[in-house]
């Protein structure tokens, strides 16, 4: 694919990538950074993209891997971890401390519940249900077999249902 063509095709997915980044970081400046970094990497390594494969899945894969790179950095900080599950909404890209007022608030129980899911559950729901990706593409983004994706979707929904029930009782 020619460079121009590649850039144009990649930019068509900007809104979807930004939406995904917002749900991962919950913080607009961090989502900006994450998406910018994603495109920088995609453009830099565009020669590695195999024409004919799914560009959208490739971009989402880069975004998620970039997110996790910084996320794992934070994960080592024990103060942010509880029961082995890191506080996912702690900022990982730069300067905002966790009490930062820059974070976007959840408006609905569904958003609140989604935020409380571990990253791999949240991601699988965002990709499969919100973005409507095929299971094969989701598997590519997550670098795992399709069977694992199916089971994660099932477990993610179970967990989400439980959280939503809790909110209803409250």
């Amino acid at each position: 694919m020619a460079s121009d063509e590649f850039h144009q095709a990649a930019l068509e997915h900007l809104d979807a990538l930004y939406n995904f980044a917002m749900y991962l970081t919950r913080n607009p400046p961090e989502a900006d950074d994450l998406v910018q970094e994603t495109y920088l990497r995609a453009f830099r390594f565009s020669h590695r993209f195999q024409p004919g494969t799914h560009l959208r899945a490739w971009l989402f894969q880069i975004l998620r891997n970039t997110f996790l790179t910084f996320y794992r950095l934070r994960e080592r900080e024990s103060a942010l971890a509880e029961d082995g599950v890191p506080a996912w909404d702690a900022p990982m890209f730069h300067d905002a401390p966790e009490e930062s007022s820059g974070a976007v608030e959840a408006h609905t129980d569904l958003e609140r519940a989604l935020r409380r899911l571990p990253e791999e559950f949240r991601t699988v729901l965002l990709l499969a249900e919100v973005e409507g990706m095929a299971l094969e593409d989701v598997a590519r983004v997550l670098a795992c077999p399709v069977g694992t994706v199916k089971s994660r979707i099932f477990r993610a929904k179970e967990r989400l249902r439980g959280l939503l029930r809790d909110y209803t009782k409250e």
Binding site: A10, L11, Y18, A96, P97, G102
Partner: protein, 233 residues
């Protein structure tokens, strides 16, 4: 499991698709990524002889560089750092124009600078608070707080409203797995630069050696933890 109840897999999937807000990429992000994607223009045929002539001219220009006025950097962050450093140099040579002792001066300072302080670093055993004053840099009102350390280094904390100030990725430094400010240099001064919401924040000092930078990092942590600027309404 039945897929017909209100909380069935299908219903939950539909809720996720319809009830979750969708965030569209802001225009400035689209613009900046679009610029990154722009391919370099093809080199016109007349460029080679022109370049040769330019190279000759360059030799002459190089000889006159000491006499040329300083050129402003094109990068907005570098330009801004230069302005903050210039302001720091002024304070270093002439002192603050109207140093005020916070908190008594806070309402006045907030009114003049357009920046409020939810909390601020009042100084400790390493850094002594010297004063605060409104500043006007690159056409924007902001606020500067001045501190002095035990060795006499003046440390300047400046805040300006600057939404989306780009930070050069290559300059960013991980501090305590918590922050990633950019470390910039200009005219023999070091500057930490970072974004806090819609504000651009800077800490400037003349600490440039390796051992000084460790201390400068420590000053960043002290100031960053204890100071929370917000745009005043």
């Amino acid at each position: 499991m039945s897929n017909h109840s209100p909380e069935s897999d299908d219903a939950l999937g539909a809720r996720l698709r319809t009830e979750l807000r969708r965030y569209a990429a802001p225009a400035y992000l689209r613009g900046s990524i679009g610029q990154t994607a722009e391919p370099p223009r093809a080199r016109p045929s007349w460029l080679a002889p022109t370049l040769a002539a330019a190279a000759t001219a360059l030799v002459l220009v190089l000889a006159s560089i000491p006499f040329l006025p300083r050129i402003l950097p094109a990068d907005p962050t570098e330009r801004l750092v230069r302005s903050v450093v210039a302001e720091h140099t002024r304070a270093l040579m002439w002192g603050a124009r109207r140093p005020e002792v916070v908190p008594t001066a806070l309402p006045w300072l907030t009114q003049e600078s357009g920046i409020g302080l939810r909390k601020f670093f009042v100084g400790d055993d390493r850094l002594v608070f010297v004063g605060a004053e409104p500043v006007y840099l690159e056409g924007r009102r902001g606020m500067a707080l001045y501190y002095r350390d035990g060795d006499g280094h003046l440390v300047n904390y400046t805040v300006l409203p600057w939404p989306g100030l780009p930070l050069p990725e290559s300059r960013r430094v991980q501090i305590e797995n918590r922050w990633r400010p950019a470390l910039m240099n200009d005219s023999g001064f070091s500057a930490w630069v970072w974004r806090q919401g819609d504000l651009a924040c800077f800490i400037v000092s003349d600490m440039v050696s390796e051992s000084d930078l460790e201390r400068f990092k420590d000053y960043f942590v002290r100031l960053r933890l204890a100071t929370e600027p917000v745009p005043a309404n």
